[in-house]
């Protein structure tokens, strides 16, 4: 293990390390703590300039309800859910199929196709922006929920396929081989042999894609204009304009926007990290 385990050091070093940890954490999360403190301050504190000291009173409930009553935050949140959930389902489903095809069958274009998905996953969004926006306007998908989740699902399919293909490739091929010898149909091999084994990958992808899409801001701006289809990320920016100088409300709204991915991360931490770090070890 590197660095040398702290248990092997002197007690003094060990205590110092353990004392330093919380301090380092507070320093690291200082911006976040500061904004959290702001979000529970009263308007009076903000106006009198008490933004860094201890709040004179706690207005946590007032502030967070104000966000919902004075703005369309609830609508934005719901829109985010409506965009994110179908994206996760579609992209993961498509990627299971495509990843299976690219990992199990050996055909000439398997690798080029795989690289196509990988490359598509890395390209800048801007190269897609004008055509996708134009296409959405033409098909009536502009400023709709469906217009957003269809695009996200297609785009995230690239990443999901990369992930799934590598995951399935690492499974023992004998399983498929012996099923074939038994005469099991190809789609049954997929459904009964491979799919149960890729459950961890599905879980990892689901949390990752949920977070990626929930946090999307660029496409929310490109594909929506009104309140009806805007997700919370774009909504928070709109609130930022609406609540000028009401920093306590802006802070509360931003933290609300962050809650679902954060909750998702803490609930599914193992899968989340396994997904992000796939390939970080050999």
């Amino acid at each position: 293990m590197f660095p040398r385990p702290i248990e092997k050091s002197t007690p003094a070093v060990r205590t110092a390390y353990q004392a330093f940890l919380p301090f380092a954490l507070v320093l690291w999360l200082l911006p976040l703590l500061a904004i959290f403190l702001t979000s529970i301050r009263s308007a009076a504190d903000i106006n009198s300039g008490n933004v860094f000291g201890w709040p004179s009173e706690f207005a946590i409930i007032e502030n967070y309800t104000a966000v919902f009553t004075q703005s369309a935050a609830a609508q934005y949140m719901w829109n985010s859910v409506l965009i994110t959930v179908p994206t996760v389902i579609i992209s993961v489903a498509l990627a299971c199929l495509a990843g299976y095809a690219l990992a199990i069958y050996r055909f000439r274009v398997a690798l080029p196709l795989f690289f196509l998905f990988v490359a598509g996953n890395f390209i800048p969004f801007q190269i897609l922006m004008v055509p996708v926006r134009d296409m959405s306007v033409q098909t009536g998908l502009y400023d709709t929920i469906a217009g957003q989740f269809l695009f996200h699902a297609a785009f995230q399919t690239g990443f999901c396929t990369l992930f799934m293909r590598n995951f399935i490739k690492a499974l023992p091929f004998d399983l498929v081989e012996s099923a074939r010898i038994e005469g099991v149909a190809e789609w049954k091999i997929f459904w009964y042999v491979v799919l149960p084994l890729v459950r961890p990958a599905i879980a990892a992808l689901a949390v990752l894609i949920f977070t990626f899409v929930w946090n999307d801001f660029f496409w929310a701006n490109v594909l929506t204009q009104g309140e009806t289809a805007k997700p919370i990320t774009a909504g928070v920016r709109a609130l930022n304009g609406q609540f000028v100088n009401n920093w306590h409300l802006v802070s509360a709204a931003s933290l609300l926007a962050a809650i679902p991915p954060v909750a998702c991360f803490f609930l599914m931490q193992r899968h989340f990290i396994a997904g992000l770090t796939l390939g970080a070890v050999k």
Binding site: L32, A98, M129, V130, P131, A154, V222
Partner: protein, 328 residues
């Protein structure tokens, strides 16, 4: 690889005989169609559109009003100072964003212990990556505020004296005025990059923590017996073993640097005076601006950004290809 299934049948149909050639396409088709419509074709459409001038409108018959201008957009781009500022900022992002890789490694080394509560600390250090860049941008926009943000408050504590005038109003007299980072054309970009580093360091950290978990313990022990420790151990024994983690950290950092859009849109919208623009934001600004859409010109900016990215993508794919050939 086995051939067709050993089912005795007098005359298997074409489909049965070619099962293994047809099946992958059936599994692939939904993803391919979707991906082609939304990703592959639009890339070519954008490249093509960059040779046109178009405001995004259609005439009554439904025909696009785009006008062919050849390479005019690129000529204009060459003479566009905003383009060069954006490109320069992109390079600044690329270089400075790379700091996330070593910094992430150091935090990972710091946290790679097994004291009680370590899991909690690790996930809390990772926290900034999970929240949206929009929120990070808002947090830092406020953090940097010279009047009531954290930077301003700390500055006041160090450089300012609080004075109370006769009426009882509190004022500050400062030996040096608090810096307004995001309004300064020289510093704003660095302020945004610093904010962007925060989640990116967290990402690199988690990659390295996973990598460190898998460093071969026997090699470390052997090196220790040989007297290696500290920096030497890190550089010659540990870092080489972290190569896969480093590769991914570099890939995601390069992509992240070139994709930076959210933070800029939230914190400065490219300002002051376009000094914080990067290609991704500048493209958005020219393509969908309040002065009317300029799809052609925007596409030419996007094409340049795509070209830069393609350079990196090719390298990544080449590396992956080497792995594929070597691996199996």
């Amino acid at each position: 690889m086995t051939d067709a299934v050993n089912v005795p049948s007098a005359k298997p149909s074409w489909l049965k005989r070619n099962k293994l050639a047809v099946a992958p396409w059936i599994f692939l088709i939904p993803a391919l169609i979707f991906f082609a419509i939304y990703v592959v074709f639009p890339i070519f459409e954008s490249l093509w559109l960059s040779l046109y001038e178009w405001n995004g409108l259609y005439d009554v018959d439904g025909n696009s009003t785009a006008v062919w201008v050849g390479f005019d957009n690129y000529v204009k781009l060459w003479d566009d100072p905003n383009f060069w500022v954006s490109l320069r900022n992109n390079i600044a992002w690329l270089i400075l964003y790379m700091l996330a890789v070593p910094l992430g490694l150091f935090i990972a080394l710091f946290l790679n212990q097994t004291v009680t509560g370590m899991r909690f600390y690790k996930s809390m250090f990772f926290f900034p990556f999970v929240i949206s860049q929009v929120v990070v941008g808002l947090i830092f926009g406020w953090f940097y505020n010279p009047d009531f943000g954290v930077v301003g408050t700390i500055w006041k504590a160090i450089f300012c004296e609080e004075t109370v005038n006769i009426v009882g109003n509190v004022a500050f007299s400062c030996s040096r005025p608090a810096p307004d980072i995001l309004s300064s054309p020289e510093w704003a970009t660095y302020g945004i990059i610093a904010a962007g580093l925060w989640p990116q360091i967290a990402y690199c950290m988690i990659l390295y923590l996973t990598g460190l978990n898998n460093v071969a313990a026997d090699q470390i022990e052997a090196a220790r017996l040989d007297g290696a420790k500290g920096w030497k151990m890190l550089w010659y024994v540990v870092v080489p073993q972290l190569k896969p983690a480093t590769f991914i950290a570099v890939v995601v950092t390069v992509i992240g640097a070139l994709r930076s859009f959210d933070m800029i849109a939230i914190m400065t919208q490219g300002g002051p005076f376009g000094s914080t623009n990067v290609l991704s934001h500048y493209m958005y600004e020219v393509a969908i601006s309040e002065y009317g859409e300029r799809y052609g010109y925007g596409s030419s900016v996007a094409t340049v950004l795509f070209g830069i990215m393609l350079f990196f993508i090719s390298y990544f794919l080449w590396r992956m290809y080497q792995d594929e050939r070597g691996g199996r």
